[in-house]
C-alpha cells in the first residue's frame, strides 16, 4: 500500500534526502506559498459581510486552508521535488551474511531449531534475491567468524557468541573490499564483552549497514534463569558472607523454588524463594559460612522446576578466595575496664583475629597482651608508619586525645586514610568528647560531630535498638533475617554505661541507637574515610551482654568478632592484585590489575611488577605488568588464558631489588557455559546493532524485501540518484481530493 501510494518503498524515504530539481531557490518556493496564502486570505476576508457570525468566519478559514493547501501543492510540484538516495551498483558490491553458529542456535522454539529456521529462511529465496544483485559471502559466527562455502557447513556447535568480535573481524577481513551491507542472522545471545558504538566503529566509519535478523522466542514459556551472583572476590576464613543472587522466570509466577549454595557438593545454605511475576528481575540475598581458608568454587543454584525448557541456566559458579592470613588489631586502652577483658575474650575465640593490646594499668605502666615478640609496642604507641601500618585495625578505648603526640595523631590519620585501616573509638571516661577528641586534630576522622561539652559519659543503664541500616549490616547481624535481628537486639540486656557521641556526619551510617535518660542517641556509627573506615561505639558497657545472657549465647562474641572483622577485612597489604572478571567465559581474555605501595603505603610508580601465572595442565608463565602512565602505582596485564581451567596468579612487586609485597588472585576460564544463558532472542541488542550502523532489524518472514533495502546503501561502490516525486499517486489524489473536499464543505455549509 505504501509503495502504491508513494511510488517507492518506505526505505527509500527513510534513507533518501528530499531535494528540488528546479533551479529556482527553495526560499522562493516558501515565499510563493506565503504570497498565495495571503492573497487567498485577502480575497476571502473581503467577501465576508461586516459583522459576520463567528461560525461564518470559522468556515471561511477552513475554505482558506483547503485552497492554500492546493496552491502550495501546485507550487511544490513546480519546483520538481525528488528523493536523492545512494544505491549500490549492481554486481559490484559484496553482501556478507553472518550466521550465528553457536550452540544456542540449536534450541528449538517452534518445532525447528533456530539454525534450521535461519537456513530455511535464506534458502527460501532471500539468498537468491540478494545474489541476483550482489556478490554474496557466507560466514559462520561464534567466537569469531569463518567463511563458509555453503549453508550445509553450519553445525551450531560454537561454545559462545561474540557478536562484537565477529563484526570487527569482518570489517578487518573486508577492509579493501566493496562491502555494501552485512546481514546478521542470530538470536542475539551474545556472551562476549558486549556490543557498543566503539565495537561497531570499523563498520560505522565505512557506512556499512548491518541488517539484523532475529531468531528464537523473545521470552521463554517456562524457564527459571539465574542472571547473576554478586559476591566479593575475597573473604576472611570463618566469615559469614552475603551474596546477592539475581534471577528471573517465565511461567512459574507464584510458585516456590529453592536457592542453594554449595561448595564441592556440600550445602552451605539453602532457602525457599517465591517466584514473582513473569520477567521480573528478582534478587535474593543469601548468607552462608565460608569455612576454612582456600579457594572455593561456590555453586549458586535454583532448583529445576517441572517443565523447564532450559535446564542449564539454573546454576552459576563463583570463585571465592578465603583468606587464611590472620588480621592484627591494635587496641589501646587507657584504664582497666571490663569491656577490655571481654573484647579480648571475644577476639580470642576468632582465629582470624590477633588482638594486640596495650593497657595503661597505672600511671607509668603499660601492660601489653598478645604481642609477637618482646619488642612489639615496647616503646608504647608506634611512632613510625611501618610499625602502625603492620596492623589492619586500631581500637582506641578510654584514652585522651592528648595521650597521642601530634605526630602520632597524624600517623593515625594516615593509618586510615592511606593505609586503609579501620579505626574504632569506644566510649569511656577519657573517650570521645570527655577525652578531648572533639577538639583534636583527628575530629574530622570521626563519623560524628562530638558535642562541645564535658561529662558526656554516664555510668547509667541504656537500652539499644538497631536502625534499619543496622538490621542488615554484617557488623550487627546476630540473625540472618533483618526483622528478627531488630527484635533480637531489643532483647539484649541493657548497657552498663553510655556516652553522648553527638550528631552523625553526612555520609555516616548509624547502625544502632541507645535509649537513656529519656533520649535517643547514636550508639554505633560508621563511616568510610579515605581508603579506610572509622566507627564510634558510644559505650564501654556491652560486656554486660556476655555476663547477663544465658551461658552459651553467642551474641556478644558474634557482635564483637563481626565489628573487629569489619575493621580489618578490607585493609589490604601494600600490593593488591585484582582481576577484571574472576570467571572468564570462552574468550580467555584476562585483565589483571595491581596497585603497588611501599611500607609507608605511598604509591610506587617505579616498581617492577611481575605476574606468575599457574594454570591447568602444568601451565606456568612469568609476565611483566605494565605501569599505567596516568595512574601512579597502578599496573596492568592483558593476557590470554589459553585453555579452560583454574588459574592462580601471584603478583610480586619489587623496587630496586627490594621486595615491596605480593598478592595472589584467582580466576577461571569457563568454556561453553555462557551459551546456556540468556537464550531468549535478544531483540534489543539486535535492534541496537542495526540502529547504530544504519541497518534495520528484521523478522525472518519480512526478509523478502531485504534485497531492496540493501540496495539503498552508501557503502561499497554506490551512486547517488534522484527519484522524482511529482508523479506519485498520492500527489494526484491530493490534487483531486482538495478541490473536491472544498466543494463538499461548501455544499454542506451552503456557502457555494
Amino acid at each position: 500500500m505504501f509503495q502504491w501510494l508513494f511510488k517507492f518503498p518506505r526505505a527509500v524515504f527513510a534513507r533518501g534526502e528530499l531535494v528540488f530539481l528546479s533551479s529556482w531557490p527553495t526560499w522562493a518556493l516558501l515565499l510563493a506559498c506565503l504570497v498565495g496564502a495571503a492573497a487567498l486570505a485577502a480575497v476571502i476576508i473581503r467577501q465576508l459581510p461586516p459583522g459576520a457570525a463567528r461560525a461564518h468566519r470559522a468556515r471561511a478559514a477552513v475554505i482558506w486552508l483547503l485552497q492554500s493547501a492546493l496552491v502550495s501543492l501546485l507550487l511544490v510540484l513546480l519546483w520538481q521535488p525528488a528523493l536523492s538516495v545512494s544505491q549500490l551498483k549492481s554486481q559490484q558490491n559484496i553482501v556478507a551474511f553472518l550466521i550465528d553458529d553457536s550452540r544456542s542456535m540449536r534450541l528449538e522454539d517452534e518445532g525447528a531449531s533456530r539454525e534450521a529456521e535461519a537456513v530455511a529462511t535464506l534458502q527460501g529465496g532471500v539468498l537468491d534475491a540478494v545474489a541476483r544483485r550482489f556478490q554474496v559471502r557466507l560466514y559462520r559466527l561464534d567466537q569469531g567468524i569463518a567463511r563458509i562455502d555453503g549453508l550445509k557447513e553450519l553445525r551450531a556447535e560454537g561454545a559462545a557468541t561474540h557478536l562484537s568480535a565477529g563484526l570487527r573481524e569482518l570489517a578487518a577481513e573486508t577492509a579493501g573490499l566493496p562491502l555494501g551491507a552485512v546481514v546478521l542472522l542470530s538470536d542475539g545471545s551474545d556472551n562476549g564483552t558486549g556490543v557498543d558504538a566503539e565495537a561497531l566503529a570499523p563498520l560505522r566509519e565505512r557506512h556499512i549497514p548491518v541488517h539484523t535478523v532475529g531468531f528464537g522466542r523473545e521470552r521463554a514459556r517456562q524457564d527459571v534463569e539465574l542472571d547473576d551472583v554478586e559476591l566479593g572476590a575475597r573473604a576472611l576464613a570463618d566469615a559469614r558472607v552475603a551474596a546477592v543472587v539475581r534471577f528471573h522466570q517465565y511461567g512459574y509466577a507464584g510458585r516456590q523454588t529453592r536457592l542453594s549454595v554449595r561448595d564441592a557438593g556440600k550445602v552451605l545454605a539453602s532457602m525457599p524463594v517465591s517466584l514473582e511475576a513473569d520477567g521480573t528481575e528478582q534478587s535474593q540475598r543469601v548468607l552462608f559460612d565460608v569455612g576454612a581458608a582456600g579457594v572455593k568454587s561456590l555453586q549458586f543454584a535454583l532448583d529445576l522446576l517441572p517443565g523447564e525448557e532450559n535446564g542449564s541456566n539454573n546454576a552459576l559458579s563463583r570463585l571465592l578466595d578465603v583468606d587464611a592470613d590472620q588480621r592484627s588489631v591494635l587496641y589501646v586502652e587507657g584504664e582497666p575496664r571490663w569491656e577490655y577483658k571481654f573484647i579480648r575474650r571475644a577476639a580470642d575465640d576468632d582465629r582470624m583475629l590477633r588482638l594486640v593490646s596495650m593497657l595503661r594499668t597505672s600511671e607509668n605502666k603499660i601492660y601489653r597482651q598478645n604481642v609477637r615478640d618482646p619488642g612489639e609496642l615496647a616503646q608504647g604507641f608506634p611512632t613510625r608508619a611501618p610499625e602502625l601500618f603492620a596492623y589492619q585495625g586500631l581500637v582506641i578505648g578510654s584514652v585522651e586525645a592528648s595521650y597521642f603526640t601530634p605526630a602520632q595523631q597524624q600517623l593515625i590519620r594516615q593509618f586510615v586514610d592511606r593505609r586503609g585501616g579501620g579505626l574504632l573509638l569506644l566510649g569511656g571516661r577519657y573517650a570521645l568528647a570527655d577525652g578531648g577528641w572533639g577538639a583534636a586534630g583527628l575530629a574530622d576522622l570521626l563519623p560524628t560531630i562530638l558535642p562541645d561539652a564535658h561529662d558526656t559519659f554516664h555510668v547509667d543503664p541504656a537500652t539499644v535498638e538497631l536502625t534499619e541500616v543496622g538490621a542488615d549490616s554484617p557488623i550487627t547481624r546476630l540473625t540472618d533475617d533483618a526483622a528478627s535481628n531488630i527484635q533480637r537486639w531489643k532483647k539484649l540486656p541493657y548497657l552498663m554505661d553510655y556516652q553522648d557521641a553527638g550528631v552523625p556526619k553526612a555520609g555516616a551510617s548509624v547502625l544502632a541507637n541507645l535509649n537513656a535518660d529519656g533520649r535517643q542517641m547514636p550508639l554505633l556509627v560508621t563511616e568510610p574515610y579515605g581508603r579506610g573506615r572509622t566507627a564510634v561505639l558510644a559505650t564501654s558497657g556491652t560486656w554486660r551482654w556476655q555476663m547477663s545472657l544465658p551461658l552459651g549465647d553467642p551474641s556478644f562474641d558474634t557482635y564483637w568478632q563481626q565489628l573487629l572483622r569489619w575493621l580489618v577485612t578490607d585493609a589490604h597489604g601494600p600490593v593488591v592484585a585484582s582481576v577484571e572478571r574472576p570467571e572468564i567465559h570462552d574468550d580467555g581474555h584476562a585483565l589483571l590489575a595491581a596497585e603497588v605501595r611501599d611500607a609507608d603505603y605511598e604509591l610506587v610508580a617505579d616498581a617492577a611488577v611481575e605476574a606468575h601465572v599457574l594454570g591447568p595442565n602444568g601451565l606456568a608463565a612469568r609476565l611483566p605488568m605494565q605501569p599505567v602512565w596516568d595512574a601512579p602505582g597502578q599496573y596492568l596485564l592483558e593476557w590470554q588464558a589459553p585453555q579452560a581451567g583454574d588459574y592462580l596468579t601471584e603478583v610480586v612487586a619489587t623496587r630496586r631489588g627490594q621486595p615491596l609485597g605480593r598478592d595472589v588472585v584467582y580466576f577461571r576460564r569457563l568454556d561453553g557455559v555462557a551459551e546456556n544463558f540468556h537464550t531468549e532472542q535478544n531483540r534489543a541488542l539486535l535492534e541496537r546493532i542495526a540502529t547504530l550502523t544504519g541497518g534495520r532489524y528484521w523478522r525472518p518472514r519480512e526478509l523478502s524485501r531485504l534485497a531492496d533495502e540493501i540496495d539503498l546503501s552508501s557503502a561499497g561502490i554506490s551512486a547517488r540518484e534522484s527519484r522524482e516525486l511529482w508523479d506519485m499517486p498520492a500527489v494526484l489524489l491530493l490534487l483531486l481530493g482538495l478541490p473536491m473536499l472544498e466543494w463538499l464543505v461548501r455544499r454542506l455549509w451552503g456557502v457555494v
Binding site: 584504664e335 575496664r337 594499668t361 555510668v459 554486660r544 551461658l551
Partner: protein, 277 residues
C-alpha cells in the same frame, strides 16, 4: 535436764564470745580508718570489690555479719564476712591509689540467689572451707565463672579446710573438667602489674600474737588455680594464707609490712588479671 543445761552453757559461751569479740577479741576496730563515700555518685564506677556471701556448711543461712568475729573462729557463723568491711575498704584504697582502675571506694556484697552477681565479674570469698551451695546457687556460680567471671578465695588453712573447700567447689566445677593446678612464678597472673617472683606465706593477724605464719597444718602456702578451656584462670585459690587480714591490718604497726605488701601486690595483680583475661 542435762541436755537443757548443756544448751544453756553453750548459749552462754556463745554469747560471751560474741561480746568478747565485739569489744576487742584478739584485735578489732570499730570505725574503718579509711574514709569512704557511699553517695549515689560514688556508686557509679567501673569496678566494685565484690564479696561473696554464701551459705555456711553447718548453718541454715548466711550466718552472722562481719565485724562480729575476728581472728580464729567464725567457721560456723558468718564465715563469708571475715575481715569485712575493713579489709575490702583498705584494699580498695590501695587499688585506687596504685592503679588506673576506676574503683568504687567501698565494697559490694553479692550472693548467689539472684542474677545481680553477673554485674560484678570479680568476686572475693573467704573462709571457703565452710561454704556450700544449693543446686541453683552452684549452677549460677558455674555459669558466672564460665561466662567470664573471676573468683578469688582466701583465708582457709590446712588439710581439713582444703577438703571442706573441695566439697563445696566440686558442686560448682567438677574435678574431671576443672582440675586444680599450682600457679608458678611464670604464670601471667603474677605479672600483670607487679612482677611477683618470690612469694611468701602471708599470715593472718594472729602472727602478731603467735609469731606463726601458718594456721592449723597449713605450713606451706598454696597458690593454686582453676582454668577454663582457654587456660585462663577463673578461680584463684589462696590456701594456707590470709591476704584479707594482711589488708585489714596493714595500718597496724605490729603487723609486718612485708606481709601487707605481698598481700596488696597479689590482690592487685589478681584484680588486674581478672580485668584483662
Amino acid at each position: 535436764m542435762k541436755r537443757r543445761r548443756a544448751i544453756t552453757v553453750i548459749g552462754l559461751l556463745a554469747l560471751s564470745t560474741a561480746v568478747w569479740a565485739q569489744f576487742g577479741g584478739l584485735r578489732s576496730f570499730s570505725t574503718p580508718p579509711i574514709t569512704t563515700d557511699v553517695s549515689p555518685t560514688d556508686a557509679k564506677h567501673e569496678f566494685a570489690w565484690s564479696r561473696l556471701r554464701y551459705n555456711a556448711a553447718y548453718g541454715s543461712d548466711y550466718g552472722g555479719y562481719g565485724g562480729y568475729f575476728y581472728g580464729y573462729g567464725g567457721r560456723f557463723s558468718g564465715a563469708w564476712s571475715r575481715d569485712y568491711p575493713k579489709a575490702d575498704i583498705v584494699f580498695l584504697a590501695a587499688l585506687r591509689r596504685l592503679t588506673r582502675v576506676d574503683a568504687r571506694s567501698y565494697q559490694q556484697v553479692v550472693d548467689l540467689d539472684s542474677d545481680d552477681i553477673f554485674n560484678y565479674p570479680f568476686v572475693y570469698a573467704v573462709q571457703v572451707e565452710s561454704w556450700t551451695f544449693t543446686e541453683a546457687q552452684a549452677k549460677r556460680l558455674r555459669e558466672y565463672l564460665l561466662k567470664g567471671g573471676f573468683l578469688m578465695v582466701d583465708d582457709f588453712h590446712g588439710t581439713v579446710d582444703w577438703e571442706h573447700f573441695l566439697t563445696g567447689l566440686r558442686m560448682v566445677l567438677p574435678a574431671e573438667s576443672y582440675p586444680i593446678t599450682d600457679l608458678s612464678d611464670d604464670d601471667e597472673i603474677f605479672h600483670v602489674l607487679y612482677d611477683i617472683g618470690h612469694r611468701i606465706q602471708v599470715p593472718g593477724e594472729q602472727y602478731v600474737v603467735t609469731g606463726r605464719t601458718y594456721e592449723k597444718d597449713g605450713y606451706v602456702p598454696k597458690w593454686r588455680a582453676i582454668r577454663d578451656d582457654k587456660g585462663r584462670v577463673i578461680v584463684a585459690i589462696c590456701h594456707n594464707m590470709h591476704l584479707g587480714d594482711a589488708w585489714e591490718w596493714a595500718d597496724d604497726s605490729e603487723y609486718p609490712e612485708e606481709f601487707a605488701s605481698m598481700a596488696f601486690r597479689v590482690g592487685i595483680d589478681y584484680v588486674m588479671y581478672s580485668m584483662t583475661h
